[in-house]
């Protein structure tokens, strides 16, 4: 079943066309990847899907019964997406109070593999990886159906990236979440997603099942993206 339908979406900022006739859909329960370079429009599209901004043309159709509390976002930069003057408990309680829900903060922290004692800490006391865990905990606290992850690991070290991606996979499985993952790194998408759309210059240039896109990229830009990934030396 389709959870989100993106139909012929275009977005202009002044005369600058950031999105050009983008269409695809996200099925319920799937993990969908959106890949492209800086300026390709992937974050703008994410913001439109989150209803943070409106498209200039086109529309987004959400499945029936889908309410504001059902879609949440995890931001790219764990250093600026947490309020430095709130401690972890306050950060996590804010969305709960907005949606009139109650939850054990300790348990919520455990679900992102942090000790309950983190509730009293402030963002500056946390590492980048820990902050991103708090960002995830905040997003899943009100039990959404859909999670948009906008470059969730691009500012983290390699080993922390692997930990965070594993955590997202685990949470996704346990909560049955639908995920839209935005990344410029194809490896991250490959690790997480079943389908992928490749964006360039505001357009979707290729879309398909991840294995097929990886094995037989049709668009020259997709090929270039794949070839650009640095690799480890071959085993000798």
């Amino acid at each position: 079943m389709r959870l989100i339908d993106i139909n012929f979406v275009s977005k202009y900022f002044g005369s600058l066309r950031v999105l050009d006739d983008v269409s695809f859909h996200v099925d319920e329960g799937e993990s969908f990847g959106l890949v492209g370079e800086s300026g390709s429009g992937k974050t703008t599209l994410g913001r439109i899907i989150m209803k943070l901004i409106k498209p200039t043309e086109g529309e987004i159709i959400y499945s029936k019964g889908f309410s504001r509390k059902d879609f949440q976002i995890v931001f790219q930069n764990p250093y600026t997406s947490l309020n430095p003057r709130m401690n972890v408990r306050q950060i996590l309680e804010e969305p709960l109070s907005i949606h009139k829900m109650k939850k054990d903060i300790g348990k919520l922290l455990e679900s992102v593999e942090l000790e309950p004692s983190y509730a009293g800490k402030y963002p500056h006391e946390l590492s980048g990886g820990e902050r991103q865990r708090i960002g995830i905990a905040r997003a899943i606290s009100i039990e959404p159906k859909f999670l948009l992850l906008d470059e969730p690991v691009s500012s983290l070290d390699m080993s922390i990236q692997a930990d965070i991606l594993k955590l997202i996979k685990k949470i996704r499985a346990s909560m049955g979440l639908t995920v839209l993952l935005i990344a410029h790194d194809l490896s991250v998408i490959k690790y997480m997603c079943e389908r992928v759309a490749v964006m360039r210059g505001g357009r979707v240039v290729e879309i398909g099942k991840i294995d097929e896109v990886y094995k037989n990229p049709e668009n020259p830009y997709t090929k270039l993206l794949l070839e650009s990934i640095p690799r480890l030396p071959a085993i000798t």
Partner: protein
């Protein structure tokens, strides 16, 4: 191969009244002429501090201990005036963030030309000509026109090309590249790595990404918590890591790579 730079028991400590923070501890390192040496480690392990200490750019209360041997001299013992001649001309550095490397209120060409005017005493006209030439060398299209642009008219990748051009402008004997591609997209990353390889300079290449390090370096040092814990060729490090921390870095890469 002759030794170009040798670090002997290099340490960097930050001290206040109560505590000492040891950012770098007893690092021994050799960079030979013509070699591209990698420094692999995660955020906070001390790799940038190590790079800055080679150029003596550690601000007080930070202190550098040990020896930095460069052309027979210990850089820690020479006067600041001489050090200024070495910075940029003999050892130069490319920083991680191309957005803050360039001054937003000066034309790109002017900023590169300044290097020639300060270090070589070139005239304005001559320095500008050299700036255009070096922009061409890092494959900036229409360098004569682009030199007149301001940094905000350049993309991230183009700015990093300018930063590479600037650091290479005086043909330094050693180039220190501190995470030069981390802020860039994969396609731009590849392009910058190719430009760096083309320069064929001796280089200390710093990164947290083992695959990027492997694609450019002849030899790699692995750093953890201020110490060098392993050294080897990229193939040795990624196929047969001796230290458990190195193994963890390699595995976490393999897990999410394709």
């Amino acid at each position: 191969m002759s030794k170009l730079l040798e670090l002997k028991k290099l340490s960097v400590h930050y001290q206040n009244n109560k505590d000492i923070v040891k950012a770098v501890t007893n690092v021994d390192m050799v960079i030979n002429e013509g070699e591209v040496v990698g420094l692999l480690g995660e955020s906070g392990c001390g790799k940038s501090t190590l790079a800055l200490s080679i150029l003596r750019l550690i601000d007080p209360p930070g202190k550098i201990y040990g020896e930095i041997l460069w052309g027979g001299n210990n850089l820690l013992n020479i006067p600041e005036q001489n050090m200024q001649r070495i910075r940029g001309a003999e050892i130069s550095m490319i920083f991680q963030d191309p957005f803050s490397t360039l001054n937003p209120v000066f034309k790109v060409g002017e900023q590169i030309a300044e290097v020639f005017r300060v270090h070589k005493g070139s005239s304005r006209r001559e320095a500008w000509k050299k700036a255009v030439e070096i922009m061409d060398k890092v494959h900036i299209k229409d360098p004569a026109d682009r030199a007149k642009d301001y940094p905000h008219q350049f993309s991230g990748g183009m700015k990093q090309r300018v930063a590479v051009a600037m650091s290479y402008s005086l043909s330094p004997r050693l180039l220190i590249a501190d995470e030069p591609t981390t802020a860039l997209d994969v396609t731009m990353q590849k392009a910058i790595l190719e430009v760096l390889k083309e320069l064929k300079t001796t280089m200390l290449f710093i990164s947290h990404n083992i695959a990027i390090i492997s694609s450019v370096c002849d030899r790699v040092y692995v750093m953890q918590a201020g110490r060098i814990i392993e050294e080897g060729t990229p193939a040795e490090i990624s196929n047969d890591p001796k230290n458990p921390y190195t193994a963890k870095l390699v595995n976490s890469y393999k897990e999410i790579s394709i």
